[in-house]
Symmetry: C2
């Protein structure tokens, strides 16, 4: 699939068929994820694939009630838990190197986009779940001290055709020239 | 270009030719960036394209001395300053909705990967600069209260052929099954 088609057509998918995602498919996705860029190539990403039915229920139980991904998560054949090692990305000699903290969030965002695009190219659907209790999930997957759970991505085969997708801002509305607020494009 | 080729072959580029990147090319890149997913579709990204030579020098002056992108940034025909609106992504009713903060970092990471992949597909090179003084840069581009500068991406035409790229961890080293540390693949 052409890169642009993948970028334009990827949608958050919240309804999966019963046809399970295979280990081979997951491996292919991670073979792409590993080529994501990261802070000084620190690659602080770690992924836990949750296949165990009981654990899928428990991990889904950490989502906020309002989360629209709860139903598809329960029916998914796999959840991908995104973890990050902390204190590395954004740091230099073990100390925060910029005024911003949580650089691992930036790096995990990069990796998440690689993951979702690659899955889409393979006909698989994903949705990023961030509205959840990451600390509770961290305990469920036994992530040790020094690591944080950032998000969960349920993955499956889309049960319905992709829709238009939610509206996006137009380019002139978010791109400026030299100074914030000075439009670059009409 | 095939998605996988873009993902596998994209490299951080730190040497550009003198041939300037055009406004049309930048617009095409942002037409892709706008399709990035974000927290509840909040699209908190804002981009300032720095073309002014004097401002390019000043923005580059906010990088840390150690930053290996300083030289290419000074010679670039455009720098893309990544900004985020704060207090929206990761929030619900104006309050942080998860134990993690700085969700805009995750969303900007997603958008950055879309940007870098799209640029690569068009034969352009990018490098993400995070090791810098974001607060100083924020003043230079006049980003208002409630916004943060996250990173700068110098963009240009690669002056040298892409190299192998730095080593990456292998899939078995960062993917686990059900519990952190339990290898899923051999």
């Amino acid at each position: 699939m052409e890169l642009q088609e993948a970028i334009f057509k990827r949608r958050s998918v919240r309804r999966f068929t019963e046809d399970a995602v295979t280990d081979e498919e997951l491996k292919k996705i991670f073979e792409s994820v590993r080529w994501s860029p990261s802070w000084a190539n620190t690659q602080t990403w770690e992924f836990i694939v949750v296949r165990d039915k009981e654990l899928i229920e428990k991990v889904t139980g950490t989502y906020s009630d309002k989360n629209p991904a709860t139903k598809c998560s329960l029916s998914a054949s796999a959840l991908i838990v995104l973890c990050a090692k902390t204190g590395v990305s954004g740091c230099y000699d073990g100390k925060e190197a910029t005024p911003l903290s949580n650089w691992y969030m930036f790096d995990l965002g990069i990796a998440a986009q690689t993951l979702c695009l690659q899955a889409h190219e393979m006909g698989l659907g994903t949705v990023v779940v961030g509205l959840m209790n990451q600390d509770a999930c961290k305990k469920l997957v036994a992530a040790p001290e020094g690591y944080e759970v950032v998000a969960v991505i349920p993955i499956g085969r889309p049960a319905v055709a992709a829709k238009e997708g939610p509206q996006r801002k137009e380019v002139p509305d978010f791109v400026y020239l030299n100074q914030f607020g000075k439009k670059m494009f009409e």
